[in-house]
Amino acid sequence: MNIPENLKYSEDHEWLKVEGNIGTEGITDYAQHELSDIVYVELPEVGREVSKGETIGTIEAVKTVADLYAVVGGRIVAVNENLKTHPELVNQDPYGEGWMVKIEIADTGEVESLMDASEYKKLIEGA
């Protein structure tokens, strides 16, 4: 299972890449594998203010449906429009082309509460 070292992770299997005050969020390789065959990703409006833990999207897979949560609070500044027509990118490249939203982080302290790669690895190995 691919768990890049440079990312932060949530208990709900989202990842966050922080560059300046912008966080890029998606779901982990473990999550896409568990969901398998993602056919639709519903993402929030750009400009929406969200708080940490808020539901900001829906991921429809053949077998099940899952919510996407904001891993940090802030303002949605971009969503991955490619996923509208190519939801399979989440399965194929969860940490790259399969990214979901970019959030202008309101409180960088929230980033610190996320797990690092080794902590996340422990979480999914215990699962």
Partner: protein, 363 residues
């Protein structure tokens, strides 16, 4: 841990995702459900369906008895012919849907894995005349080889000419000196065959089939793909679309109910239901967008509840979100616009004529 089919180790070796299903550990997919659906539509896929139940009825009155416990007309079958049928409770609800094979010395009933024990008990409970009933499920493996080149692939394995085996007929074939029952049947809409044989021969036959289909791009397909393939054809799944609370008349299965064949369990209830008028029908729905309508979601018409979804999924073959559901008469007609409540949001859909996928190759 569930029961394991004779092919279980093959699935593990192939890296299948294994899930519990009907008491068995079964492969839900090997690589991707969507890819495996398209594998069967465009090339050829092999399913391990050894979990299915096989119940044998023998004895002088076997035909008469099976005719009494099922809705289709068993006496219309010639030896080796196969028929789709349902088995009903006296109130008209469905015990199970099944395949009935008329063989020279017995009638073979192939039933849903989750219902095998229930069906067997039901059949024994209703036993009539000179018959013997045996649950042989554990003794058999069953493979389904499905896809447009299925005949070509299977012909490389068996000597008998398969071009002469029509849809829903069976025959005994020899593979490496052993005997197998082969029928031109399936649950996918594509041309295809199902092979039954002694459990311990399953792995060998699996290998032989894969070798024979190599040039056609043969691959394994899991239960996930099987579910989507059958949905694209509007084939009912017991437990989703039909169960003890639904009748075959509501489910659009009146073509397997022969009211004039003589007495059968459930007949009186169906006659009454017909007289009173059918109140709801199982229909095909195409939805806007890519959300999936899942089992139990409400179907609305102008905001008013008119039914519920029984099965739904994304169809990679027609590239639409498709679903089956019961809709109250008179809202059931094709062309009717409805909405589905998908987690609190109304998604528009339209009732369409079956099947969703119209280019299937079944004979």
């Amino acid at each position: 841990m569930g029961k394991k089919t004779p092919l279980y180790e093959k699935h593990v070796t192939l890296g299948a995702r294994i899930v519990p299903f009907a008491g068995f550990d079964m492969p839900v997919y090997y690589t991707s459900i969507l890819e495996e659906v398209l594998l069967v539509r465009r090339r050829i896929g092999v399913f391990d369906v050894s979990h299915m139940g096989e119940i044998e009825v023998t004895g002088k009155d076997a035909l008469e008895f099976v005719n009494y416990i099922t809705t289709n007309n068993v006496f219309s079958l010639d030896d080796y012919q196969v028929q789709y049928s349902t088995m009903l409770y006296p109130h008209g609800g469905i015990v199970d849907d099944l395949l009935v094979y008329r063989l020279p010395d017995k009638v073979l009933l192939v039933v849903n894995a989750a219902n095998t024990d229930k069906d067997f008990e039901w059949i024994v409970e209703n036993k009539k005349g000179d018959v013997e009933i045996r649950n042989r499920s554990e003794e058999y493996f069953q493979l389904a080889v499905q896809g447009p080149p299925a005949e070509k692939v299977m012909q490389r394995i068996v000597e008998k000419s398969l071009s002469k085996l029509p849809f829903y007929w069976s025959t005994f074939v020899e593979i490496e000196g052993k005997e197998f029952l082969l029928s031109r049947t399936g649950y996918t809409g594509e041309d295809g065959f199902e092979i039954y044989g002694e459990a311990e021969l399953g792995k060998r036959v699996w290998d032989i089939v894969f070798e024979a289909g190599e040039d056609e791009g043969i691959g394994p397909a899991g239960l996930g793909a099987r579910d989507t393939l059958r949905l694209e054809m509007k084939y009912c799944l017991y437990g989703n679309d039909i169960d003890e609370t639904t009748t075959p008349l509501e489910a659009g299965l009146s073509w397997v109910v022969k009211m004039d064949k003589g007495e059968f369990i459930g007949r009186d209830a169906l006659i009454k239901q017909k007289e009173d008028g059918i109140k709801r029908k199982l229909v095909c729905i195409e939805l806007e967008g890519r959300n999936i309508a899942r089992h139990g979601y409400k179907i609305l018409k102008g905001g008013e509840e008119v039914g519920y979804i029984t099965s739904g999924n994304w169809s990679p073959s027609v590239k639409k979100s498709i679903a089956l559901g019961y809709v109250n008469v008179p809202h059931h007609k094709s062309g009717t616009e409805i909405e589905v409540d998908i987690r609190g949001r109304s998604v528009r859909g339209v009732i369409v004529k079956p099947p969703f996928y119209k280019n299937a190759t079944h004979k």
